[in-house]
Symmetry: C2
Subunit: 344 residues, 2 copies
Amino acid sequence: MVNGRTPSVKDVARSAGVSLGTVSNVMNRPEVVSPTTRERVERAMVELGFVRNESARQLRAGTSRTLAYVMLDGSNPFFHDVSQGIELAAEEADLSLFICNSNGRSEREEVLLDRLMQQRVQGILITPVNPDAPHLAEISRRGIPVVIVDRVGAGGLFCSVAVDDVLGGRIAVEHLAEQGHTRVAVVGGPESIGQVRERVEGARQIWAELGLPPEDLTYLPTAGLTVAEGRSAGERLAGIPARRRPTAAFCANDLLALGLLQQSIGAGLRVPEELAIVGFDDIEFAAAAAVPLTSVRQPRQELGRAAAQLVLDEATNPDHVHQQPLFVPELVARASTVVRSRSY
Amino acid sequence: MVNGRTPSVKDVARSAGVSLGTVSNVMNRPEVVSPTTRERVERAMVELGFVRNESARQLRAGTSRTLAYVMLDGSNPFFHDVSQGIELAAEEADLSLFICNSNGRSEREEVLLDRLMQQRVQGILITPVNPDAPHLAEISRRGIPVVIVDRVGAGGLFCSVAVDDVLGGRIAVEHLAEQGHTRVAVVGGPESIGQVRERVEGARQIWAELGLPPEDLTYLPTAGLTVAEGRSAGERLAGIPARRRPTAAFCANDLLALGLLQQSIGAGLRVPEELAIVGFDDIEFAAAAAVPLTSVRQPRQELGRAAAQLVLDEATNPDHVHQQPLFVPELVARASTVVRSRSY
DNA sequence: CACGCCGTATGAAACATTTCAAACATCCTG
DNA sequence: CAGGATGTTTGAAATGTTTCATACGGCGTG
């Protein structure tokens, strides 16, 4: 440490008067080395300020101690809650977690994945731009465990952990119907996002099953799942003549719902009396909105934790078989749909 | 790739009929190798599915291609915006970014830092639990650049990038005073957090300078900077007899402000008529609240970007000198303080 | 033709660790 | 006291790159 260079095992060995192998043993199998030498080595380590070089360890061992999570959208708190769950599981397994963010851009995603392969991470968790993209399969074929988070990969090629989005759409709209709404808007997009497609699909299914006329379920497409898009949807909604205007809206995620909520209140609409709103994800800010938001809860941390466990199983268990557990979403009713409820 | 093992440079060399060194040259200094052999090597690489082993590279080169950011609180969107700025700068410099989260726990922070040292990261950006903690100085002494983000390190030991929190507190309260408020609450805590101390300090300063009586500036301490704490502060605020109750509140961050806003509206208070609220940070959700939140804006992405540039300079420029640039915060007035303004 | 030069290609050394067979020491057993 | 058994330590090999001094081959110059 003194002469510039960070000390290596060799320096520690010399300083403690033992061989290389012994120092390594102190770190990796302390039980085989005698207490006295162990203590001597340990003292030398702190004295020199030794820090193990993980690259060298990894090179020799052939395996890293890192997982990676590639988020789809860093500006959506939902994904951070998921990553929190992953990190908890990683911490338990004594692994580091690399968090990256593709920001929905496919080419960025590819760059990140390439880097992660170069780092020889132990496993990759990803909410992909497109779960069917060939580069994902390619990574998996190379023997690096890949787990799809919040989507179901096609063809059982990977493990995945997701919530039943169709069911989520169903319970959201069913809830609105129960509250007596007969004209409902479904807000979300773009349809290239699988989650959006399925949530909308669920809404349509239950609507039909309840025997309500399809033309009373208005689809308001958006260009993304952001607060700003929610506001813009609100403006379009307000433009519909009052007689035909939906009295409730189901938004494909909470960001949209928050935007819609804000725009509607700003425009003088009373929520939920004149417009009821349901979101999706149940992010923390949903409950904290001025009119607390009814939302379809996904078990966010649990999703992350389960995904991490699957990736670890695939990495360590030779008898691993791919699984695609589907979590069941749950409606959390709050003031944005229920008149004068004190819930939450 | 076929026989299990991932191919190495050696395999590529054999397959292309050249030496190890040549393959390395193709990757690192393509200009010195003739076009024909280069092409041959490149074909062999894709054929075998070669992926460079970053650990080996790093071991030999002695330096990694990664930066790390240790966040203070993963549940606060503010820090994600900062990390977004860092990532942009890292991407430009062709570096990977490791994002971790200490969650405000000092011992977790130490574990993370230790791991990062083992990985031999090129530089560490951190919003520390305590900027004076000895382990930070220790890392820096070892030659790893450390940049403090959103705090100023003591004694000029490190580079740091921060916003003038005292000034931020001043402009927030000055704004409230300009709106005619003469009884103001200051909400925030714990005081162990430097940002909180300084923002409160700024509020007190300007209050005194304006010649207002100190007893009319009520300090409402909180146990953390969360939405829930904001709600709880709101309850305490409501408990104050109306004659003496503050008509405005300055919250040490936006999460508190959102909680306070929600609680107050829920309790039937009109915002801003009966209670004006200013937050701090100007996170995206501040503008998206049902009553858009006035807030003291920090240039979040810019903060991250500047920090990344400093760490890179320290890592590469031998003439580097530590700098502590202070950014100037800016008040963004919205509906939560300004009656019937259409601003934002 | 000898010489030096230039553009390419080579192969060994180095990086910091882990692993593993072998050496060594110590003690016990018969 | 020979022969194991047990417990500890050793030293060399191996991991996949990059670097660097060296070698090679062809070409132009004197």
